[in-house]
């Protein structure tokens, strides 16, 4: 049921396309019913992951492929309550154990990307792909009160203030 991704993107490793990826992810999360701050945090995690692929994986080459796949997650009543994202590259493989992020007490530029990803998302898993490149799987679960049913319910009107259980 969560097998087929709802959205797949293949983009070139050019920093010019980061904003497009962020806007896509954040709009989709918004339409799934997540609050604004959650949407922008998920977009931030994706942005950081793409930056790391461009920087560490492809050493700033701007013409290599990056893949993003997105699955909405649903609760028992088929209401969206989260999102799963997978980001893949075909760069050289590294030990997933090295994707740790640095100790935050040591303030210096850099070393923040992985920390941000782990902080923002609920589940984060780096692994080697079958042949070449790395795969990052991230899951964000969103509390019920922030996730009105937006994906399939297309004809609802409310008057006055909305509330959590609407």
């Amino acid at each position: 049921m969560n097998d087929r991704p709802h959205i797949c993107v293949e983009l070139l490793s050019n920093p010019a396309y980061l904003s497009g990826a962020r806007e896509l992810i954040s709009s989709v999360c918004k339409r799934l019913g997540f609050d604004d701050l959650t949407c922008s945090k998920v977009a931030l995690a994706v942005d950081e992951a793409l930056c790391n692929v461009i920087r560490h994986g492809y050493k700033y080459a701007e013409d290599r492929p990056i893949w993003i796949r997105l699955w909405p997650l649903f609760d028992a009543e088929h209401r969206p309550d989260g999102v799963k994202l997978v980001i893949e590259d075909e760069a050289e493989q590294v030990d997933p154990e090295t994707m740790k992020g640095r100790d935050l007490d040591d303030i210096k530029p850099g070393g923040l990307g992985v920390h941000i990803i782990r902080d923002v998302m609920d589940e984060v898993c780096y692994e080697r792909r079958e042949k070449v490149g790395m795969r990052l799987t991230m899951i964000k679960r969103v509390p019920r009160c922030c996730t009105p049913m937006r994906l399939s319910d297309r004809a609802r009107v409310k008057r006055g203030a909305g509330d959590c259980d609407g």
């Binding site: 049913m149 937006r150 409310k158 008057r159 203030a161 909305g162």
Partner: protein, 113 residues
């Protein structure tokens, strides 16, 4: 809050103000359509469609407004659109519908019209 797509306000006894809250595209225009129909059924003297929260509208939104406009004409309801941003106005012009509707700048103007 996040799931409120269209707001309806009553302005005195004879005016209804309908305000879509966000983009009016194929996924939201069915809601707008239902709301407009319900409100037109009560045959208000005037229906104001306040677009100041609408950043984007596609042809499904236009179609919904055109349909409401026809119903309104039959019912003797006056329809006024207001609060369009530049992008929304552009699509009315591309579709050459800007002369088909009564369009004013602000909600205040719409109320005085």
């Amino acid at each position: 809050m996040a799931d409120e797509v269209v707001r309806v306000d009553r302005d005195g006894s004879d005016t209804v103000v309908i305000s879509p809250l966000g983009d009016v595209d194929m996924s939201c225009s069915p809601t707008l359509r239902t709301t407009m129909r319900e409100q037109l059924d009560a045959r208000p003297r005037r229906l104001i469609v306040n677009l100041d929260q609408v950043g984007y509208m596609d042809s499904s939104g236009l179609a919904t407004l055109v349909e409401a406009m026809r119903t309104a004409k039959r019912h003797g309801t006056r329809v006024v659109l207001c609060g369009m941003n530049e992008k929304v106005r552009a699509i009315f012009e591309i579709a050459r519908l800007h002369q088909f509707f009564t369009i004013v700048e602000s909600l205040a103007e719409a109320r005085e019209s």
